[in-house]
């Protein structure tokens, strides 16, 4: 049976969590490119890295071990600690 909880808050925010608002521009921000280890994802991300770098954005690269499983917590923590924005290649 599905459990239902009663909201303890002042209910000023929606129940469904909203994604964080997107930055207006990337000036001064560090951008992470996350490779999920799918075939040829690196081709796409290499091109993005070139384009971002040409616009003066600091880029860092990350790769999770396999696309079949969620990223290891240590990788998520590393990304969260090092960059402001992430682009991830999700499909083939």
């Amino acid at each position: 049976m599905t459990t239902t909880l009663l909201d303890p808050t002042g209910e000023l925010e929606p129940v469904v969590r909203l994604p964080r608002s997107k930055p207006g521009d990337l000036g001064g921000l560090t951008l992470g490119l996350r490779d999920i280890s799918k075939s040829r994802g690196d081709v796409f991300l290499n091109r993005l890295e070139t384009l971002f770098a040409s616009r003066g954005v600091t880029v860092k690269r990350y790769k999770k071990p396999t696309f079949t499983k969620p990223a290891p917590v240590s990788l998520l923590q590393q990304i969260a600690g090092e960059v402001d924005v992430v682009v991830e290649g999700l499909a083939d």
Binding site: T2, T3, T4, L5, L6, D7, P8, T9, G10, E11, L12, V15, R17
Partner: protein
């Protein structure tokens, strides 16, 4: 419930009850005599053996009719209950039904059994099932693969420790602790000024781990905290260490087994730990007051998880609540702003004068050793220090006055860490009060062993510029 005739008899029974089994022929005979009779069976729809039996294993009808004992026979006239008989009492049944004879051969009287609708844990389960619309709060569904405690963390409801997930059933059980209506608004909670209904207080009390019987204390604490004199908004937002501290007086403290003795300011007592936490969770969740947001405290304090204890009233001194105008024998909460406790050890003084000098020495360092007009303090006098005052027949008022006199700061010492070259007050500047009038509050608590007292300073901003202590009687 479905449509019912305007005039009828209703009986509630269960097969598990010997008295119900005993009166099965009575019910059958009433139906045969042509009475409009509906029988609700709580455990077995084939009992009693007759037509017109309604399956009430879900107990909705029993709950809505507030059945506590089976058998119960109810007479409905013009659509309204006019009377009921509980258990088997032949004369009463005859009077209620108007039947000539009933239950020939049966004893005149047999008590009934407990209704399944009042089995332990059942009333709140039924209330959650059939009366949940009384609880005005958004519903948050937990996915089948989600852990409800983790969900509480993820939603930002937690102070960092696990919460009891606030299901409707638990909140209903909590609300049994008060006679107040679930929709009553206790006040507006800063910083967002969102209304704290009794239901929202109950939800946060559930999450904090409170028992229902603590709820009246929590409600009184919330009322006190929301009194403008307490200045909860400023206390929340300050960069200083303080949070709200609740001191409980009166018979309620013992009734809910609060701790006023050993480790009184520490962990290990459910009421002490959870009542203070409930208030802080309410500020976080209903008010929206969170650290590094509206709560701008530089350091905070471990006491901001919740700080609540009971005074030891088994001493010659007037209790805190009595001093603040609450009649002895009545229960109350008093809220102070408070940081963590600072210990004062004096294992040598056997006369009040020595003890006053020791306490004053420590008190003079509060906030800054060169600061006058410092934050208010609560001084918790431990039993072994209290005995020194009691043996010399010192009242609380005498001890308090002596502490005010002994904590005055020399004018020439008022430098507040300024540059050594900066001019300071002249040597003959006289003295200034370290604490404002009423700014030293003595209370009694603590374990038997240890010649110590605990000094609990509060928020630097006090009085009309900040916070004042607030007392509220605990209602039902």
């Amino acid at each position: 419930m479905g449509a019912t005739p305007d005039d009828e008899f209703i009986a509630f029974v269960k097969r598990d009850c010997p008295t119900c089994v005993l009166i099965e022929p009575v019910l059958q005979s009433l139906a045969k005599q042509g009475h409009a009779l509906t029988v609700y069976s709580q455990d077995d729809p084939t009992f009693p053996s007759m037509s017109g039996v309604v399956d009430d294993r879900e107990l909705e009808h029993s709950y809505r009719r507030a059945i506590e004992t089976v058998p119960t026979l109810i007479r409905v006239q013009a659509g309204q209950e006019s009377s009921r008989v509980i258990g088997w009492q032949r004369e009463e049944w005859v009077a209620l039904t108007g039947a000539q004879t009933l239950g020939a051969g049966l004893p005149d009287y047999r008590p009934g059994c407990g209704s399944r609708s009042v089995d332990p844990g059942m009333p709140e389960r039924l209330a959650a099932r059939y009366d949940a619309d009384r609880l005005v709060a958004r519903r948050v569904a937990v996915g089948d693969l989600e852990d409800e405690i983790e969900l509480c963390f993820e939603r930002g409801w937690s102070d960092g420790l696990p919460l009891v997930p606030p299901t409707a059933e638990r909140v209903m059980r909590m609300l049994q602790g008060t006679t107040r209506a679930p929709g009553d608004v206790v006040g507006l909670v800063p910083p967002n000024h969102s209304p704290a209904t009794v239901t929202k207080v109950a939800i946060n009390a559930v999450m904090a781990g409170c028992k229902p019987e603590y709820l009246p204390v929590v409600l009184a604490a919330v009322e006190a905290a929301l009194d403008p004199a307490f200045c909860l908004h400023g206390l929340l937002a300050t960069t200083w260490f303080s949070g709200p501290m609740i001191i409980v007086n009166g018979p309620m403290a013992a009734a809910i087994e609060m701790n006023s003795r050993g480790n009184v300011l520490g962990q290990g007592n459910r009421a002490n730990a959870t009542i203070g936490r409930a208030l802080q969770l309410l500020v976080r969740n209903v008010g929206g007051g969170k650290p590094q947001e509206a709560d701008q405290s530089t350091f905070g304090s471990p006491t901001k998880f919740g700080f609540c204890f009971a005074e030891d009233e088994n001493t010659p001194w007037a209790s805190l609540a009595e001093e603040r105008g609450v009649e002895r024998g009545r229960s109350a909460v008093t809220l102070f702003s408070a940081d963590g406790p600072i210990g004062c050890a004096d294992q040598k003084s056997r006369a009040p004068e020595g003890l006053i000098a020791s306490l004053a020495g420590t008190l003079k360092t509060i906030d800054h050793h060169q600061m006058a007009n410092a934050a208010d303090v609560v001084v918790v006098i431990g039993p072994e220090h209290g005995r020194v005052f009691d043996d010399a027949s010192w009242t609380k008022a005498e001890a308090t006055a002596a502490l005010h006199a002994a904590t005055r700061i020399q004018g020439r010492d008022l430098g507040m860490g300024t540059d050594a070259a900066a001019p300071v007050a002249a040597a003959d500047a006289g003295t200034l009060a370290k604490f404002r009038e009423g700014g030293i509050q003595l209370v009694r608590a603590g374990g038997d062993a240890g010649m110590f007292s605990a000094i609990i300073p509060g928020w630097l901003m006090k009085g009309t510029l900040g916070t004042d202590p607030v007392t509220r009687e605990i209602q039902t």
